[in-house]
């Protein structure tokens, strides 16, 4: 079940720069997408979501972009801070489905 993919297992960024995390999906029925941040031994923390009727959603330092034709979404963090260091998961849901599919995660390291 690889309907949501995060092809970069890790990303290292300098503090103050932009972090870009990518996610691809295969199911065109997905219409709602989310990003979660996860620290070790904790539950995923909801960050930001986007509906398929939009192509961009912003919340403070976090912006999610959705490219439906490419079945691709990305999370931009600007400026990156050391406290952003965590594993980031993207997730997707189809309108008729009552479950969320998760990617495998990207470990972000923001260096001071």
């Amino acid at each position: 079940d690889q309907q949501v993919k995060q092809n970069s297992p890790s990303l290292s960024v300098q503090e103050g720069r932009i972090s870009i995390l990518n996610c691809d999906y295969t199911n065109s029925m997905f219409d709602y997408f989310l990003w979660y941040k996860k620290y070790p031994a904790e539950g995923p923390t909801f960050l930001i979501s986007i509906s398929s009727i939009k192509d961009k959603n912003e919340d403070g330092r976090f912006t999610v972009f959705l490219n439906k034709s490419a079945k691709h979404l990305s999370l931009h963090i600007v400026p990156s801070q050391p406290g952003d260091s965590a594993v980031y998961f993207c997730a997707a849901r189809g309108f008729y489905f009552n479950k969320f599919y998760f990617g495998s995660g990207t470990k972000l390291n923001v260096k001071p």
Binding site: D31, Y32, L34, Y36, A41, E42, G43, P44, T45, F46, S49, S51, F89, F97, N98, K99, F100, Y101, F102, G103, S104, G105
Partner: protein, 114 residues
């Protein structure tokens, strides 16, 4: 800020025993979920629950598993006859439904089967 809570934080059990993992979802939420994450692997969907019944379940969620909402606040996951491969972090989540924020996850229960 309302949050999902889970108990216990860590459960150790012997293979073949039954365990019950407990969750208190956010009070006005309507959809409830169980996910798990085996160490080093991705977060996997187990089951979703709405209107007092299972609305969706994965292939993992076989007869060994069951969920219940015994009262207006708790949501439980029962694992019968635990196996070594059931060792994982189990996360409960809840959401209002629709394209709103979330689901919101609890801190997880670490289940260790010996």
């Amino acid at each position: 800020e309302p949050e999902v809570t889970q108990t216990p934080s860590h459960q150790v059990t012997q293979m073949g025993q039954e365990v019950i993992l407990r969750c208190v979802p956010i009070s006005n939420h309507l959809y409830f979920y169980w996910y798990r994450q085996i160490l080093g692997q991705k977060v996997e969907f187990l089951v979703s629950f709405y209107n007092n019944e299972i609305s969706e379940k994965s292939e993992i969620f076989d007869d060994q598993f069951s969920v219940e909402r015994p009262d207006g606040s708790n949501f439980t996951l029962k694992i019968r006859s635990t196996k070594l491969e059931d060792s994982a972090m189990y996360f409960c989540a809840s959401s209002e439904g629709g394209s709103s924020q979330g689901p919101f996850f609890g801190p997880g229960t670490r289940l260790t089967v010996l």
